[in-house]
């Protein structure tokens, strides 16, 4: 279980989230959508413990993430994997080593076990053949898949994806989203993803939530989201040019 309870988040004078509540159930796939600059990634980073809320609490497995001992916190965070928007791969390490690195840092696995896991996860995302190449020698789609494999190699029970298909063509995007769902089923993990692409949001989500105007509006599943009555949600999912989202402030 993952939750934001009455969370307010400001950066200096800039209020991003105002008393927000959000729950993600175990095994659920929640997708965050919303206009750029409204705080989708902030929500994701709060859930990942990468940002501390200005007020309110972040709860992971019934524990308040910022009110527990450092060691307990690290244990909780180890359950999470995160894919960053730009993948954040190590340029100077080969594809296989990008996956081995966090395993060496964070687990007590033997080198043989690490290599076994590297092979397994590269195969899972379909880039086993690229093990000895450097990240800049593979395509953008393959880099994404490598980022996903690295996030999953620590076998996290919660996986957070920041725009996992950004910049990819729709055919590759659908394949990546299929892969994310297959791996989620296999590992019985909980998923929170950020995307701007409604086709992908509908493909991935059990529930969708829109981050807008300092709020998080949980809009429900595909049918409920498509028929949602909030004018901001309606405008966003339909991509309409006129509406509350595009009115001058």
């Amino acid at each position: 279980m993952l939750a934001l309870n009455d969370v307010t988040m400001s950066f200096g004078d800039n209020l991003v989230l105002d008393s927000v509540d959000l729950q993600v159930a175990r095994g659920e796939a929640l997708v965050l959508v919303g206009p750029s600059g409204n705080g989708k990634t902030v929500v994701l980073k709060l859930l990942a413990g990468l940002l501390k809320p200005s007020a309110g609490s972040v709860v992971v497995d019934d524990k308040d993430l910022h009110k527990i001992l450092r060691r307990e916190q690290e244990e909780l965070l180890l359950k999470m994997g995160m894919l960053f928007q730009k993948n954040a791969l190590f340029d100077s390490l080969k594809v296989g080593e990008n996956i081995a690195f966090p395993l060496r840092e964070k687990t007590s696995l033997s080198e043989a076990e690490i290599q076994e896991r590297v092979v397994y996860f590269l195969e899972q995302v379909g880039i086993g053949h690229a093990r000895d190449l450097y990240p800049d020698e593979i395509s953008g789609g393959m880099q994404k898949r490598l980022g996903i494999a690295r996030a999953l190699a620590l076998e996290p029970s919660i996986v957070l994806y920041d725009d996992p298909t950004a910049g990819l063509d729709p055919i590759t995007s659908r394949r990546i989203a299929d892969l994310i769902l297959t791996l989620k089923e296999k590992n019985k993990s909980t998923l929170v993803a950020v995307t701007n692409d409604m086709a992908r949001a509908y493909q991935l989500a059990d529930r969708i939530a829109m981050v807008v105007d300092h709020e998080v509006i949980v809009t429900g599943d595909k049918t409920a989201t498509a028929a949602h009555r909030d004018p901001r949600v309606r405008q966003f999912v339909r991509g309409q040019l006129d509406g509350p989202l595009t009115e001058a402030p």
Partner: protein, 248 residues
């Protein structure tokens, strides 16, 4: 008129463009569609000489620009306005100075009054006003994208080159930018080349579409032609476009 005649481009042993031939008549909008990593951006960059083709001809108004030196490329680049994926505005300059930047550089004879009038005109072309004194970080990302369009058209290019102009944008901003590509191209009578993944948009605003796969043109034609295509990649793209439409 822009013509590609059997253009090839290799990086080391890897051939990225494998003999590309097509034409864009003056004033038309051409979409270049294809999956990620298939040579679309490379093709765009060869037009302005950011990359040189390994062989073949690239004719702009009958002149082959492929063999030109950096210095000779200068007037060609002045004809072309390139819109990048990111707005690439100068953070430290106001919106006014961002739009005026190219004019000050390339049209040194313009008076301040004329520059101010032109900035206003270009911002109104992208449906923005009263934001001249703001800095880029004070306006939304969608507005920044529009300012970058205004900046590009400010120096009156005859050719507009768009490199994935809507990638990563939310649905509302995507539609706004697509509308602007069409509006600007028609109003300013530019020849426009748009590299894109967005079949839905291509069908809506392109005069002509070429589909690139692994460095080759696998299909081309008008939107109506493309809709009837049986080429497997085109069929996949059409399916995704239909999917996107159905999700609305």
């Amino acid at each position: 008129m822009i013509s590609f005649r059997n253009v090839r481009k290799s990086f080391g042993e890897r051939e990225v463009l494998k003999g590309i031939t097509f034409e864009v008549p003056e004033g038309q909008i051409l979409f270049i569609l294809g999956t990620s990593g298939t040579g679309k951006s490379v093709l765009l960059k060869t037009i302005v000489g950011l990359l040189k083709p390994t062989s073949g001809e690239i004719l702009i108004d009958g002149q082959d620009v492929a063999p030109l030196t950096e210095l000779q490329m200068f007037p060609v680049r002045r004809m072309c306005g390139m819109v990048f994926q990111q707005p690439a505005l100068f953070d430290s300059l106001t919106i006014f100075e961002n739009v005026a930047f190219g004019m000050r550089k390339h049209l040194p004879d313009l008076t301040e009054d004329k520059i101010a009038a032109r900035v206003k005109e270009c911002l109104s072309l992208v449906h923005l006003r009263d934001i001249e004194s703001k800095k880029p970080q004070e306006i939304s990302y969608g507005m920044q994208k529009r300012v970058s369009l205004a900046r590009t058209v400010a120096v009156s290019p005859r050719i507009l080159l768009f490199d994935e102009p809507t990638t990563g944008l939310d649905p509302v901003t995507t539609n706004a930018i697509n509308n602007l590509i069409l509006e600007l191209s028609r109003k300013l009578n530019t020849t426009s080349l748009v590299v894109s993944h967005d079949m839905q948009c291509a069908l809506a605003i392109a005069d002509h579409i070429i589909v690139l796969d692994k460095g080759e043109i696998v299909e081309q034609g008008s939107p109506a032609d493309l809709k009837k295509s049986k080429q497997p990649l085109v069929v996949d793209f059409l399916k995704e476009a239909l999917n996107a439409e159905a999700s609305i």
